[in-house]
Amino acid sequence: MISYCNNDTICAISTPPGCGAIAVIRLSGSEARDIALKSFIPKANKTLSHSTCVYGSFLDNNGEMVDETVTAYFQAPHSYTGEDLVEISCHGSVYIQKTILEILVSNGARLALPGEFTFRAYRNGKLDLAQSEAVADLISSENKQAHDVAVRHLKGTYSSFIKELRDKLLHLLSLLELELDFSEEDVAFADRTELINLLETIEKEVTALAKSFELGNALKTGIPVAIIGKPNVGKSTLLNALLKEDRAIVSDIPGTTRDVIEDVININGYPFRFIDTAGLHATQDVIESIGIEKTIERINKADIVLHVVDLTQTDIKSLQSEIDEFTGHITDDTKKWIIVGNKEDKIDSVPEWGSITANGLPIDTVIISAKQKLNINQINETLYQYVESKGVTGVPTVTGVRHYEALIRALESIASAKKAFADNVPADLLAIDIRQTAFNLGSIVGDISTEDVLSSIFSKFCIGK
C-alpha cells in the first residue's frame, strides 16, 4: 500500500472530473519542474521560473504535440504545498487530461492519493489542522458566501480567534492554579467576580462561534425555505417561476432523507434550498394532498417560510386564522414569515394586510402573479434581504462538524464550571471543568499544556518562600 509517508513527486487532475473548457493538472515534489520539462516545451525560449506562467507545447513520448498548455511554476517553499509545484492548464477534453497525466507518470511522477496535496501543505506547515479542513470546504463550496467563509477560515482568522479564547482560558486557569499550588504563600488571589466574568466572556464567544456553525452550514447546503399553503393556491407555479428565474444555476441536490429531492436557487451568491418539493413538482396541486402535520414539519425545518395564498379567495380574517393555525406549533421565533399573495392578475385592488401578525415572527408581504411572473423578483429581494440582515460577513464561522462538536462540548464544560462557581465548590474541582473546556477547545487548535499554565503563573505572580 502506498502511504502518505514519502517524498515522491505526485500529480493529479485538480479540476472536477469530466469535460470542461480547461483543466488543471498539478505536480508537487522536488522533481516537479524536471518532470514537467521532460514533456513541456516553452515557446520562444522562455524559462519556467518561480511564480510565472509560460505558454508552450506539451509533447508525448514520441515528440508529438498533445496540447498547447499554460504552465505555472512555484518554487519551494513558496507554494501551496510548500514543495516545488507545477500547474499545467490544458484544454478540458478528458482524452487530453488523461494523456498528459499518463505522460507525467511515465516521466517519474506518482498519482496522488486523495487529499495528498493538502496533506503535504499541512505537513510542511503551510496549513494548520483547522485550515486543512477549510480547504476541503473551499473545494466543495458552491457559492460565493460559502467560499468567503472557507477563505476566511483558510487565512487563519478563525484559528487566531480560537487562540485568543485559549489565552483567556489560560489566564483563568493560572489564577485558579496559583490559588491551589501556592496557597501557603503570600499571594493575592483573584476575586471570584473577575473569574466568573472571564468565564462568561468566554462562554459568550464560544456560543457565538457555535451559532455561526448553523449559519455556516446553511451557506454550505443552502438556506432552508418552505413553500406552504392550501391546495391550488399556486405553490407549484411559484416554485417553477422561482426556479426559472435562475435556470442556469439551478441544481438538484439530494436532501436529508433518501427519497427527497430539493431544489436550490442562488440569489446574489446566497443559496436557498426549498424543502421537500417533491409534492410540489406534481403537475397538479390537487394530487398534493398534504395535511397540516406535514406542513408543520416543513415549517420547522425552514429558516424562511413562503406562505402562499390565493388573493381571490382570501380576506384578512381568514388569512389571520390560517397563519395562526400554522404558527401555533412553532417554538423558534427567528423564522422569517413571508406571505405571498398570488393571482394578483385576477383581482382589482391590492388588499391592505398591515395588521396581520405571525405569532411574533418577523413578517413580510409580497403580492405576485406566479403565472404571469409578476413581482417574482420581489420575492428574491426579500429572501436576499433576510440573509443580509443576519450579518453574515465579519463573523468567524465554524463550518466543520468536528469543530462544532468540540465547541458544544466546551460549552457543556463551561456550563458545568458556572454551576460549580454558583455552588461555591473548591477551586481544584472548578479547575477540572476549566481544564476540560481548554481540552475541548484545544482539540481544534492545539492543547494547553500544564507547562503553559505554570509559565503563566510564574510570569505574573511573586511566589516562593
Partner: protein, 630 residues
C-alpha cells in the same frame, strides 16, 4: 573484604537511601556508599517534609514500601494538613522535622535493613565494560564490582558555593564536593549542565523576639504520612511569620553589585518558584514586603531556619538587612544564606526506569536529574532501586503512569520535557489530580508494589481491610435512612437545605459541608455502625478512620472522580500506542524540524509521550500517526 555486590548506590541522600533500601528489601545484595555515613538523608534546605503535591508524593513512596514517610513521622515536631478548605485532591500533609532526628532515624532504618552494607567513601570513577557499568572506584583506591550502579549524588558533583564575592568548592556548606564522575560521563557523551539553588540564613532562635511575630501552630489533631502504625504527635512546636519591609529591601539592593547572580558568576539557572530574596526584589519591584517563615530545626536545638530569605548576597549585607526585620533586631547568625551551583545530567538521557540510555545498568536518581526537593529525590530513588533489581534479576520494568501517581507525572515530565530550571512538583502538573489524592495512594500503588515483592504483606492486608471497610461504609450510608425531623435542626444550623422527607444518609454526605461524623450525632444507627466491631480491623489501629474518610470522599466527589477517570482513560489510549526506539525521525521530512530534532533526541516510547514533548505540535502528532500508519 567483600568487593562484589548486586547493586551499588552512590550517595546517601534522600534518593540514595530509598534506592538502597528498595533494592535490598527486594533481595539484592546492596552497598550504599556515602561520603559520610554520619550525615545520611540530610535536610540541606528547610527542615520540613511534604506540602502541596510533595505531601502526596511522600504518601506514594510510603504506599510503595519506602521509608520517607515513616522517618518523617518519627522525627516530626509539627504537622499540618494544608488546603483543608479545598477539595480532597488538594489536601496536602506537611511536617516540620527535627533535622538531626530525621537523619538519625534514617540511619537506623538502613542499619536494620537486611542485605544492605554501607561504607563512608568518595566514588571518583565508574568501572565500565562493554557499554555497561560494572562497579565503582573510590578515592581511597578501592574497586568494588556490581551488576548495576545507582548514582544519587545530589548537589555534590562539582558543587560550588557562593556567598557574595566569596566562592569555594563544596557539596553543602562545610562539606567537600565530589569530582570525577561528571568528567567521566561527559567523555562518554553525557550531556552535563549546571543548575543553581539557594538556601537562607540559619539563626540562633534565642536572639529572636517571637512576641513581635505571628505564631503558626500545628493542627489540633495532627495527622501523619505513613499508612503503617507510626505514632502521631502529642506535642508540637510552632512556626512564626515575619515580613520584610522597604527598609530591608533598600539594604539588600546595596549588595546587588556584589551578588554572584547579578554579576553572572553563577551560570546555572535557579528555580522560578523558589527565588532568592534578591531575585524577588528584582522581579517584583512593586511589592513592598515579602512574607518569611521562621521554622525551628528541632526539639532541642536553638537553630531556626528563615524560610523565604534565601540569598547569596555578602554576609554583612544579609546581616544588616535581617536586623531591620521586626523581631530580628538582635538576630545572631549561625550560618549565612548561600547559593550552590552543581552539575546535573539532562534527564532526557534516562529511560522511564531511570536507567541511562547511554550506559546500561547505570541508574540516575534525584537532584542529579535536575529536580529539587527531598520528596522528588526520594521518589526517584525508590523507582531506581526497584528497577535496578528488576533488571538484574530479569524481571519486568516497574513504571507508573501519569494518571496513577505523581511519581509517574514526575518521571514522565523529566524524561519527556527535560528540565531548564530545578524541577519541583506542583499539583497543576498532573492532568488528573482528583485521582492522585493523598488518601488513596495506597489504593493506587500498594497492590502493585506488593506484586513485585516490595510492599510487605501487612501493608497489603491493611489495604484490603481498608477497601472492605470503605465499601461497607458506603453501602451502609446508601441504605440507611434518616428522618427529616432528626436532622433538620442540624441542617438549619449549618444553613443548608432542610429535608422534607426521610432520606438516605448518603444524600446528605453528598452535600459539600456535611461530614459523616456530623451525622453520627443525629443517627444512632450510624453511630453504632462506626463504633461497631464490624468496622474495626483486627490489630490495625487506624483503618476505620481511613475508611470513613475514603467513603466520604467517594460519595462527595464521585461526579468529578468518574469524569476524570473517563478523560484519563481516553488520553491513555495514546500512551498505549508504542513507538519503536530505532525510528529515524530525521527522515520524516513531513514533521517540523523542531519536532524531528526533539523526537530524535528524546526517542519517546509512546505516541502519548511524543505528544507531551514541547515543540511537537498536534499537527506533528497527526502527521506522525499517518506516516506510521497508526
Amino acid at each position: 573484604m567483600n568487593n562484589t555486590y548486586d547493586i551499588i548506590v552512590v550517595g546517601g541522600g534522600h534518593a540514595g537511601c530509598e534506592a538502597a533500601c528498595a533494592a535490598a528489601n527486594l533481595g539484592a545484595k546492596t552497598l550504599l556508599i556515602s561520603m559520610s555515613m554520619d550525615s545520611v538523608a540530610q535536610m540541606s534546605c528547610n527542615p520540613a517534609i511534604g506540602g502541596v503535591a510533595k505531601g502526596q508524593i511522600v504518601r506514594e513512596i510510603d504506599a510503595l514500601g519506602g521509608y520517607t514517610g515513616i522517618v518523617a513521622d518519627r522525627s516530626m515536631i509539627q504537622f499540618r494538613m494544608l488546603n483543608c478548605s479545598k477539595g480532597p485532591a488538594m489536601w496536602s500533609p506537611r511536617s516540620q522535622n527535627d533535622r538531626m532526628l530525621f537523619s538519625a532515624t534514617w540511619l537506623s532504618v538502613i542499619e536494620n535493613t537486611k542485605n544492605l552494607d554501607f561504607i563512608s567513601d568518595n566514588v571518583i570513577e565508574l568501572i565500565i565494560k562493554d557499554g555497561s557499568v560494572r562497579g565503582v572506584k573510590t578515592e581511597i583506591g578501592k574497586s568494588i564490582y556490581s551488576k548495576a550502579v545507582i548514582l544519587a549524588c545530589g548537589t555534590f558533583l562539582n558543587g560550588k558555593i557562593f556567598i557574595g564575592e566569596v566562592s569555594f568548592a563544596g557539596g553543602r556548606i562545610g562539606e567537600k564536593n565530589s569530582k570525577g564522575i561528571s568528567e567521566q560521563l561527559l567523555s562518554l557523551g553525557f550531556e552535563v549542565s549546571r543548575l543553581k539553588t539557594g538556601t537562607p540564613v540559619r539563626i540562633d532562635g534565642r536572639s529572636i523576639n517571637y512576641s513581635l511575630l505571628t505564631e503558626q501552630p500545628g493542627d489540633e489533631h495532627p495527622g501523619k504520612f505513613s499508612y503503617t502504625d507510626t505514632p502521631t504527635l502529642r506535642q508540637q512546636k510552632s512556626c512564626y511569620m515575619a515580613y520584610t519591609s522597604e527598609e530591608v529591601h533598600d539594604i539588600l539592593r546595596k549588595g546587588f553589585d556584589k551578588s554572584p547572580m547579578f554579576q553572572g558568576r553563577i551560570k546555572g539557572i535557579g528555580p522560578r518558584y523558589c527565588p532568592s530574596i534578591e531575585d524577588k526584589l528584582n522581579r517584583f519591584a512593586g511589592k513592598n514586603r515579602h512574607q518569611l517563615f521562621v521554622e525551628p530545626e528541632g526539639w532541642n536545638t536553638v537553630e531556626v531556619y528563615l524560610n523565604g530569605f534565601s540569598s547569596s548576597l555578602p554576609e554583612e549585607i544579609q546581616y544588616e538587612a535581617i536586623h531591620k526585620i521586626v523581631g530580628f533586631e538582635n538576630a545572631k547568625f549561625i550560618k549565612p544564606g548561600y547559593a550552590i551551583e552543581y552539575d546535573y545530567f539532562s534527564p532526557i538521557q534516562i529511560q522511564r526506569t531511570l536507567e541511562s540510555k547511554l550506559l546500561s545498568n547505570l541508574y540516575i536518581a534525584g537532584q542529579l536529574n535536575g529536580t529539587t526537593g527531598y520528596e522528588e529525590a526520594a521518589a526517584q530513588g525508590i523507582i531506581a532501586g526497584i528497577n535496578a533489581y528488576q533488571k538484574i534479576y530479569d524481571k519486568e520494568a516497574f513504571t507508573l503512569s501519569r494518571s496513577e501517581a505523581y511519581i509517574g507525572v514526575l518521571i514522565d515530565d523529566l524524561i519527556t520535557k527535560g528540565v531548564d530550571e530545578p524541577y519541583r512538583m506542583f499539583t497543576s502538573r498532573a492532568e488528573h489530580r482528583i485521582l492522585l489524592r493523598q488518601d488513596n495512594a495506597d489504593e493506587r500503588l500498594t497492590g502493585k508494589s506488593y506484586s513485585i515483592g516490595l510492599a510487605k504483606e501487612n501493608r497489603y492486608i491493611r489495604l484490603m481491610k481498608k477497601l472492605e471497610n470503605t465499601q461497607k461504609t458506603i453501602n451502609f450510608l446508601e441504605s440507611q435512612p434518616i428522618k427529616a425531623n432528626d436532622i433538620n435542626g442540624f441542617l438549619g444550623e449549618i444553613e443548608t437545605g432542610l429535608l422534607t422527607e426521610t432520606t438516605k444518609l448518603s444524600r446528605l454526605v453528598n452535600r459539600p459541608n456535611i461530614a459523616i461524623r456530623d451525622l453520627a450525632k443525629y443517627s444512632t444507627a450510624l453511630e453504632t455502625f462506626i463504633n461497631n466491631d464490624c468496622l474495626k480491623a483486627e490489630n490495625i489501629q487506624i483503618v476505620d478512620e481511613e475508611a470513613l474518610e475514603e467513603a466520604e470522599i467517594i460519595i462527595k466527589y464521585q461526579g468529578y472522580i468518574s469524569k476524570e477517570t473517563t478523560l484519563a482513560s481516553k488520553l491513555a489510549t495514546f500512551d498505549d500506542i508504542p513507538l519503536k526506539k530505532d525510528l529515524d525521525y530525521f527522515s520524516m521530512t513531513n514533521l517540523s524540524y523542531e519536532a524531528r530534532e526533539k523526537l530524535n533526541k528524546i526517542k519517546p516510547t509512546s505516541v502519548g509521550q511524543a505528544s507531551r514533548i514541547s515543540g511537537v505540535s498536534p499537527a506533528d502528532i497527526a502527521a506522525l500517526m499517518i506516516l506510521l500508519g497508526i
